[in-house]
């Protein structure tokens, strides 16, 4: 039953993304200055929104783990972080390719870019920390604490374009500027692709949670086998 729901959601995400790709390439107007490269934004920005959402869920889940000590919350946290890191890498790579054309450079130590990289490193560190601790309870507790504090880097990354006006473009979405900075059709597509990527993210997190449960089962059976 659960597997059928997951397959259904994955198909829905696939269809939604295919429809969005069609609109991105053939439906949206051209951007006057940037040429075709601006269409990367429809993956770059939603990827960041998706990873921020995943890290937010991981942070809340980690708090719930510390309060209730249920392994389900730890499983959700690690799964959301892992999938979130994948979307962080997509955000960094697509942004770098866009920067190569628009700025003439692959990378610069602009505050927004630097904090985005720090966020990626901090959450990758979370995943590495989990591999370094053998005891499941200590692993869950220590990583939950790290996950809660790590969310500060997400907030700083999000607010960096308000706090430091340097190389990275400033806010353009109407929820942050009050409107008028972006074609409504383009803005609608950013949110539509965020929805599609979020759905894909939910499917990937659910698959990863199932694997984490299997991994725990293997771990506990192995301990039982050694004790017997």
């Amino acid at each position: 039953m659960r597997q059928n729901v997951l397959i259904g959601l994955a198909l829905l995400a696939g269809l939604w993304l295919a429809r969005n790709l069609y609109v991105i390439f053939l439906g949206l107007p051209d951007e006057a200055a940037q040429g075709a490269i601006y269409r990367i934004m429809f993956f770059h920005v939603p990827s960041w929104f998706t990873c921020f959402t995943a890290f937010f869920v991981a942070g809340i889940s980690s708090m719930l783990y510390l309060g209730k000590k249920s392994t389900m919350y730890d499983t959700l946290a690690v799964s959301a972080v892992e999938v979130g890191v994948v979307f962080t890498i997509i955000g960094l790579v697509t942004g770098s390719i866009w920067g190569r054309i628009i700025w003439g450079i692959w990378w610069t130590w602009d505050p927004r870019l630097t904090w985005a990289l720090i966020t990626c490193i901090v959450y990758s560190g979370y995943l590495m920390l989990r591999r370094a601790i053998d005891d499941p309870t200590a692993r869950a507790k220590n990583s939950a604490v790290l996950c809660i504090f790590a969310f500060a880097s997400v907030v700083i990354t999000y607010k960096a374009i308000d706090w430091w006006r340097t190389q990275h473009p400033g806010p353009v979405l109407s929820i942050r500027t009050g409107g008028g900075n972006m074609d409504p059709a383009m803005e609608a597509m950013l949110f539509s692709n965020w929805g599609a990527l979020l759905l894909l993210c939910i499917v990937l997190v659910a698959v990863r949670m199932k694997q984490e449960d299997t991994s725990r089962e293997v771990e506990s059976l192995r301990r039982y086998a050694h004790a017997a």
């Binding site: 940037q34 997509i90 059976l221």
Partner: protein, 49 residues
């Protein structure tokens, strides 16, 4: 569609889908490895009685 910088747009989309595809492949491989491990631990427990 405006064709300027088309190649780099292609690189961007290819990179995004490529990273996602690599992650999905890693999930599938991990699933196979975990199933093998689970079967082997269960067999070990069965053999111990």
């Amino acid at each position: 569609m405006d064709q300027r910088n088309f190649l780099y747009m292609f690189y961007g989309f290819a990179a995004a889908w490529g990273i996602l595809a690599l992650y999905v492949i890693s999930l599938v491989m991990r699933e196979g490895r975990l199933r093998k491990e689970l079967d082997s631990v269960k067999r070990m427990l069965d053999s111990k009685g």
